[in-house]
Amino acid sequence: MKRILFVILVLALSLAACAPKQTVSSGAVLKVTNGTLEKTYTVDDLKALGAAQASDKGVGYVGVPLKVLLQDAGIDPSTLSAVKAVASDGFTVNYDSSVFMADDVLVAYARADGPLADEEGTFRMVVPDQGGKMNPRMLVEIDAIP
């Protein structure tokens, strides 16, 4: 029994050691970059870019289409092979062109009926009809991948 407990302990410690490092700082600023170009946005900056609406799981969101944001940052989305969304806890998800070129894929800064919930952070991705993994909250960075 002791041996089994020891193995369970080793297993738990191994998995804990694999926990992701919190390398990305959180904050009220969203960074959009392709490695060479870099631009940061506040909520007011995004509001100035537009107020498109999309809903996910029955909740309406207001934000800027991802492709519009990329264009504003000086990045041509049609030349990209993928776009990565990075959350403040280091979680990442990569989108292919069918996602990041869609009109209803938003970088949201508010809900349709008010501000984003605390746990959603200042910005979040909204990719309608996709799993939660594709809709990271606490968004802090958008990486354009050529």
């Binding site: 191994s14 694999c18 992701p20 990565k84 979680f91 998800v93 990569n94 989108y95 062109s97 991948i145």
Partner: protein, 200 residues
């Protein structure tokens, strides 16, 4: 293959246990988006299933347990469960195929079967992403590299090392799960009946 009523009930019990793990722990882990959720769940689930295998040491029993767990996963909290359901079924199938190579359950068979099934969790996003969720290969590949990069602190450019490290991690965790399943199975059996399972 034919099972007795007692064996069917036993498999249903272990399938239900696996299903409960998936519904409860699985829903929580998926919701908080911690990495390697699939690996942790498949190892725990198969650990339960392989303990069941000790009690019903017949071809097909592990897969049957997986089918029960898959059906229960339908009642999971949250929206999309098709991915996890395919995962459970595929893991049970992989474990079953490896177990069937051996004439009777052994510790080595248990270690290899959960290790093999754990490896499936690394491959599954490619299969379900491409075939079911309509994703392209590149973003799935990039997600995998990002995961490895975060876990091991490697540059996402070091693709080969990341993939190797992920494979080793999955095989190791699965192997530990298999080793544990064998020991726990015997302990459970001794507690229940005072003797080892019929396989031994």
């Amino acid at each position: 293959m034919k099972f007795t009523t007692r064996q069917l009930v036993t498999m249903a019990v272990f399938g239900a246990l696996w299903g409960v793990v998936e519904i409860s722990l699985g829903s929580v882990l998926h919701a908080i988006k911690i990495p390697l959720t699939g690996l942790a769940l498949s190892t725990i689930g198969l650990l339960v299933a392989l303990i069941g295998r000790l009690f019903v040491p017949k071809r097909g029993s592990t897969f049957f347990i997986g089918v029960i767990a898959t059906v229960l996963k339908l009642f999971s909290i949250g929206n999309i469960v098709i991915g996890p359901m395919i995962g459970i079924l595929a893991e049970a199938l992989v474990a079953e195929l490896i177990l069937d190579i051996f004439p009777k359950p052994t510790r080595l068979a248990f270690v290899l079967s959960i290790a093999g099934a754990a490896l499936w969790t690394l491959i599954q996003p490619f299969v379900t992403g491409l075939l079911i969720f309509g994703r392209e290969l590149l973003p799935i590949w990039l997600d995998t590299l990002d995961l490895g990069s975060r876990l091991f602190g490697l540059s996402s450019q070091a693709a080969l090392w990341i993939v190797l490290a992920l494979i080793i991690l999955h095989l190791s965790v699965g192997a530990l799960g298999g080793w544990l399943a064998w020991s726990l199975g015997h302990l459970v059996s001794l507690r229940l009946g005072g003797h080892s399972p019929e396989a031994v």
